[in-house]
């Protein structure tokens, strides 16, 4: 006879198992609606892989496992996915979680299954994969994914495989009835597990001695195998995994460790059957045996129920009388949790629905003072001191609680059961555990936040330092420049030149023109440019008009802005047109046949007009004014900074000095301009290029007038040829340097060539 070890403590609550054992397993049938929560196991919730409105078959996977510790969910009958939404799930909180809801069609149509003839031929990984894909999670109550539990590391030798048929909780008979009716399936499942785990020493099925019929059935089925059915005295909580291991082997699972650490793997009897069905028939986990019992049920019994079946549907089969029921418990009276609503579904871990009357399980009376009687410590199966932990939990002394091994508490409820003062000890421990975990998480989070905060501080400091360094460098550079540059005015002028100051640009252009090195622009070029400008202006105007119209129609709020934009566009268009007209007029006035003199005149006139247009003096005056304004502002700022002793004073001082310099320069320029304007106005014929050009052109005209038409044509042809040549070289240059004038030059060249051809024709015809 095998040696049976004892566990510390334990209690003997009334068993109340006979009520639900009067009948065999009955099928609960197909409910109209199936609700499949995505999280029926410990670990990450599954991910839906079906869509609303999709038709699903019985056994079809509707949500896939997400992550390693997870399990898929399967449709337990055929039907249509009506919705995927948050619904109340069987959980003590009564909170909502995502569920896939299926409207069943009653056809119960199976998906094509993939049974295995000979599992011994399968690889271990393949077998585990099948178990995982079948969505099997511990059916004893915790719901830990079985495949995860069975994937032991290769370097760990498992010597003992334990099948848990203890079912120590009162009222529950789901495993008992399974043993009585389906012992052969259990043994078949155990053999699969044996093949998978390869226990080196023994395979044990642990059963409490209050199930003689089940034991007899199991023993008969296990006849001739190396599976031993071990019977031990009934005591709650022998069915806890750690407790059962201790009872059968005398070994203790190390605190915080796994049974595999001491060479043991443990599986529930219901899980074993599910594994058998999954491997042998390819059926995923879609149904389970659930006990419906309690005095508020007139027909207690065990039902084979499809997962996802609403609890109220199942309760009806058990003859549930709502008016007599004080609380509805999912699970047993020791570790089960109360349901707030009967609409929640049966899930993989639902081994029992207990509907007691008030008399049967009266609501807890108010807790009295703890008298430290120690009955809880006597009852504790893990040798804790619940009464001490109670004081610490109330005082929120979490360190002390951890010292007293709070986290070894299995929440079996034996202490609360034994407590003469009705103190809800387990609730204290649960709350404290949650609080400690929360604090640990917060600790991690606060460390993280601190690291980020400090990183940010360092970054800000570094940026600050960089800024400071840059400022210093600038200061140095400015000093050096001031020392090196003898003519600050010129420097300032040079600096100001590239700036888009229209006055300055105008002055420069004018100056450049005057000195005779303005970029040449042929008539054609100018014409093209102007035409283009008109074109774009027209286009813009058009679009602006369209927009305005649209806006007007829609009464848009930006109507005003659009109107002004439109006006501006119109103006621009008009201007561009005018310019074009002027130019065309000029071109026609001056014979457009390519008279160079006329060209030059037109150019000179245009330049003059430009000069006159710009009025450089005014612009310069304006600049001086603005500089003055800026200077006064910066002086004011400087004074302020000096007063407050700010460190920016230095910088401000420098910038003020610079501004002053600039202003001086601008003033000097203004003076120069007003000086030079007078002679320009006087138009000293000797040095005015425009005048010179006019004179030159006139002379050329006179010369041309003297020529015969043939000669004229010849000359024009020659000049055209020269221009074409010139443009060609220019284009080549531009192409080489990648300048953006390439396109314009190409255009021009093409036009010139046309003209040239025409001119040649003319010359040929005439000649």
């Amino acid at each position: 006879m095998r040696k049976i070890f004892d566990i510390h403590g334990g209690v003997h609550p009334p068993e109340n198992k006979v009520q639900s054992l009067s009948r065999g397993i009955e099928s609960a049938g197909i409910p109209p609606v199936l609700v499949h929560p995505l999280s029926q196991h410990i670990g990450a919730p599954a991910t839906p892989i079906v869509e609303v409105g999709q038709r699903v078959l019985k056994g079809q996977m509707i949500a896939d496992a997400k992550g390693f510790v997870s399990a898929p969910v399967h449709a337990s009958s055929s039907g249509t996915v009506s919705t995927i939404e948050h619904r109340e799930i069987p959980h003590p909180s009564g909170l909502l979680a995502r569920c896939i809801v299926i409207d069943t069609d009653g056809k119960d149509e199976w998906i094509e299954l993939d049974p295995v003839e000979d599992y011994t031929a399968l690889e271990k990984a393949d077998l585990l994969h099948r178990i995982r894909d079948a969505g099997i999670a511990g059916m004893g109550g915790a719901g830990f994914p079985s495949a995860v539990k069975l994937s032991t590391r290769d370097d760990v030798v498992i010597d003992t495989l334990i099948i848990n048929g203890t079912e120590c909780e009162p009222y529950i008979t789901a495993d008992d009835i399974l043993m009585r009716e389906r012992a052969d399936q259990i043994i078949a499942g155990v053999k699969i597990l044996q093949h998978l785990i390869q226990p080196t020493k023994q395979t044990l099925i642990g059963v409490e001695d209050n199930k003689p019929e089940g034991i007899a059935a199991l023993r008969a089925a296990a006849e001739g195998s190396n599976i031993e059915v071990v019977v031990f005295p009934t005591k709650y909580p022998s069915g806890g995994e750690k407790q059962l291991i201790q009872i059968l082997t005398g070994r203790e699972v190390p605190s915080g460790g796994l049974p595999a650490d001491i060479g043991v793997v443990c599986q529930n009897i219901g899980t074993t059957v599910a594994i058998h069905r999954a491997v042998q028939y390819g059926e995923p986990l879609i149904s389970r045996i659930t006990t419906v019992t309690g005095e508020a049920c007139s027909a207690p019994g065990n039902f084979e129920v499809l997962l996802g079946t609403p609890v109220d549907y199942l309760l009806k089969l058990g003859g549930f009388q709502q008016d007599q029921c004080i609380r509805l418990v999912m699970g047993g009276p020791m570790m089960g949790f109360t349901l707030r609503d009967t609409a929640v579904p049966v899930v993989k871990t639902t081994n029992c629905l207990l509907a007691p009357t008030q008399k049967e399980l009266p609501p807890p009376p108010p807790a009295q003072a703890c008298i430290r009687c120690g009955m809880c410590a006597e009852a504790c199966p893990v040798s804790l001191l619940p009464q001490q932990m109670y004081w610490f939990a109330r005082g929120k002394e979490y360190e002390k609680l951890e010292e007293h091994n709070l986290f070894d508490c299995i929440e079996c409820g034996a202490c609360s059961y034994a407590c003469p003062s009705n103190i809800p000890l387990v609730q204290y421990y649960r709350a404290s555990k949650a609080e400690i975990r929360k604090q640990q998480q917060e600790k991690v989070k606060s460390e993280h936040a601190k690291a980020r905060f400090e990183a940010r501080q360092i970054r800000i400091e570094r940026e600050e330092a960089e800024k400071e360094a840059r400022r210093k460098a600038r200061q140095e550079a400015a000093k050096k420049k001031a020392a090196a540059g003898k003519d600050p005015i010129k420097a300032a002028q040079a600096k100001a030149a590239p700036a888009a100051d229209p006055a300055q640009a105008a002055i420069e252009k004018a100056m450049a023109k005057r000195s005779g090195n303005a970029p040449e622009e042929t008539n054609e070029e100018k014409l093209a440019r102007l035409k283009k400008a008109v074109e774009t202006a027209e286009k813009r105007l058009e679009s602006a008009t369209a927009k305005l119209k649209e806006a007007e129609a829609a009464d848009a709020p930006n109507l005003g802005a659009l109107q002004t934009a439109h006006e501006r566009m119109t103006e621009k268009f008009a201007k561009a047109k005018e310019e074009l007209q002027q130019f065309e007029q000029a071109s026609t006035e001056a014979p457009s046949t390519g008279d160079p003199a006329a060209d030059a005149i037109a150019r000179a006139q245009a330049a003059r007009a430009k000069n006159a247009d710009k009025s450089p003096r005014e612009k310069a005056e304006e600049q001086v004014a603005s500089l003055e304004k800026r200077l006064s502002k910066s002086e004011q700022k400087l004074a302020e900074a000096k007063e407050s002793g700010s460190e920016t004073a230095e910088v401000l001082e420098q910038s003020t000095a610079k501004l002053r310099d600039k202003l001086d320069a601008a003033r000097a320029e203004l003076a120069q301009l007003s000086e030079s304007e007078a002679p320009v106005a006087a138009a000293a014929s000797t040095n005015d290029p425009a005048q010179l050009a006019i004179e030159k052109a006139m002379a050329a005209r006179e010369a041309a007038a003297k020529l015969s038409p043939e000669d004229k044509a010849k000359k024009a042809l020659e000049s055209l040829e020269a221009r074409v040549e010139k443009t060609r070289t220019k284009l080549a240059e531009a192409e080489e340097s990648g300048a953006d004038t390439v396109d314009v030059l190409r255009d021009t060249l093409a036009k010139l060539e046309d003209k040239l051809a025409e001119a040649r024709k003319e010359a040929g015809v005439e000649g």
């Binding site: 209690v11 609550p13 009334p14 003590p92 009162p170 750690k242 201790q246 203790e252 699972v253 190390p254 605190s255 915080g256 460790g257 007599q324 029921c325 004080i326 609380r327 509805l328 418990v329 699970g331 009276p333 020791m334 570790m335 089960g336 949790f337 109360t338 007691p356 008030q358 009266p362 807890p364 009295q368 003072a369 008298i371 430290r372 009687c373 120690g374 410590a377 006597e378 199966p381 893990v382 040798s383 804790l384 001191l385 009464q387 001490q388 010292e403 007293h404 091994n405 070894d408 409820g413 609360s416 059961y417 034994a418 407590c419 003469p420 003062s421 009705n422 809800p424 387990v426 649960r430």
Partner: protein, 347 residues
């Protein structure tokens, strides 16, 4: 019916605090019967008045502390304290002795520390010790047991009269056997036994039977699993061992035989009704063994070499001090742990 939401477990055991207290009261009956038989109705009047006073004072202080009175009176703890004190006091003690004793038990030792469950010292023993130190004459004048002098015992009327009369010395009193032994410094134990009529077959007349009565009651409570065997048995063993070691065959300097010590004074009452008080004792089984043994040792030390003839109250109070320390060092090994976790802290 609306469904309620509560944390598991949903089932609850048959034991309740009130049940525990009732069982304790029930278990005192054999001892009280023996005391009444041998020392007259004085013990019963003690118990009656102590109980009334205790309930009254408990209700009053609960009222002052604004606690639900019915809820707390119902737990029976005040009644148990009163009855234990009533048993421990000399039969037919004057009413004011009872009043002072109960005042210190209920108000000072219990409620001023926060009420039931929070008191570090055994309330009944605090009351007893205050009286013993304050009123030594009244506290040592035990009525003579039956069979002494005129062979009569205190009747109910006599006991009432004695309780409420101003003069308390007119009844027949006699030194207790423990007292006699303590005063002795010349006679061999055998001779002492022969020369004093207080001694019976094992210990004192009446005392031995009262102790047997409390032993029976204690065994009943053990059977009912109201407390564990650890503290009382270890206390009795320690007392037996020490008295056996120092019992040198009965010389005049000897401390008395083990049997004498086991069945004298308040030994059994202490072992099963005082030492087992859960609130003030150590919590772990190992702690309770040490706790009980230390009390046994202290009882013998004080009885033989101390100033007082009996020592249960002092020993218990002294060990009440030590209980938290014992708890600290005797935390049991939790499942899955190699060593006690507390060692970590003391490292």
């Amino acid at each position: 019916m609306a469904l309620i939401t509560v944390s598991s477990p949903h089932a609850h055991g048959p034991m309740s605090t009130a049940t525990v207290m009732r069982l304790v009261l029930l278990a005192t009956l054999p001892g009280v019967f023996a005391l009444t038989y041998f020392f007259g109705f004085g013990t019963l009047t003690n118990i009656l008045f102590a109980a009334l006073l205790a309930l009254g004072m408990e209700a009053a202080i609960l009222k002052i502390r604004k606690r639900p009175i019915g809820f707390y009176l119902n737990d029976g703890s005040a009644l148990v304290t009163a009855i234990l004190l009533g048993i421990a006091l000399p039969p037919a003690s004057p009413w004011w002795i009872l009043a002072v004793g109960i005042l210190f038990s209920i108000v000072f030792a219990k409620h001023l520390y926060g009420g039931m469950g929070y008191n570090p010292f055994n309330p009944a023993m605090v009351g007893y010790v205050v009286l013993l130190i304050s009123f030594p004459v009244q506290m040592t004048s035990w009525v003579a047991p039956i069979g002494n002098f005129d062979g009569s015992v205190l009747g109910p009327i006599d006991a009432l009269v004695r309780t409420f009369s101003a003069s308390s010395v007119d009844a027949v009193t006699a030194a207790t056997p423990l007292d006699v032994l303590k005063q002795n410094n010349s006679l061999l134990i055998e001779d002492l036994w022969a020369s004093n009529s207080q001694f019976g077959s094992l210990a004192g007349v009446g005392w031995e039977w009262a102790n047997v009565g409390f032993l029976l009651g204690g065994l009943f409570l053990l059977y009912k699993r109201v407390f564990t065997w650890h503290a009382p048995i270890s206390m009795l063993i320690a007392l037996t061992l020490l008295s056996a070691i120092f019992y040198d065959g009965g010389s005049s300097a000897s401390g008395g035989s083990p049997m004498f010590h086991l069945f004298s004074g308040a030994t059994m009452l202490g072992a099963f009704f005082i030492v087992t008080d859960p609130v003030t004792s150590a919590v772990s089984n190992k702690g309770r063994i040490i706790y009980g043994a230390c009390i046994g040792v202290l009882i013998y030390l004080i009885r033989v070499w101390g100033n007082y003839p009996d020592a249960v109250a002092f020993s218990v109070l002294l060990m009440n001090f030590a209980a938290p320390l014992l708890d600290h060092y005797t935390q049991p090994r939790t499942y899955g742990h190699k060593k006690k976790t507390l060692q970590k802290e003391t490292d």
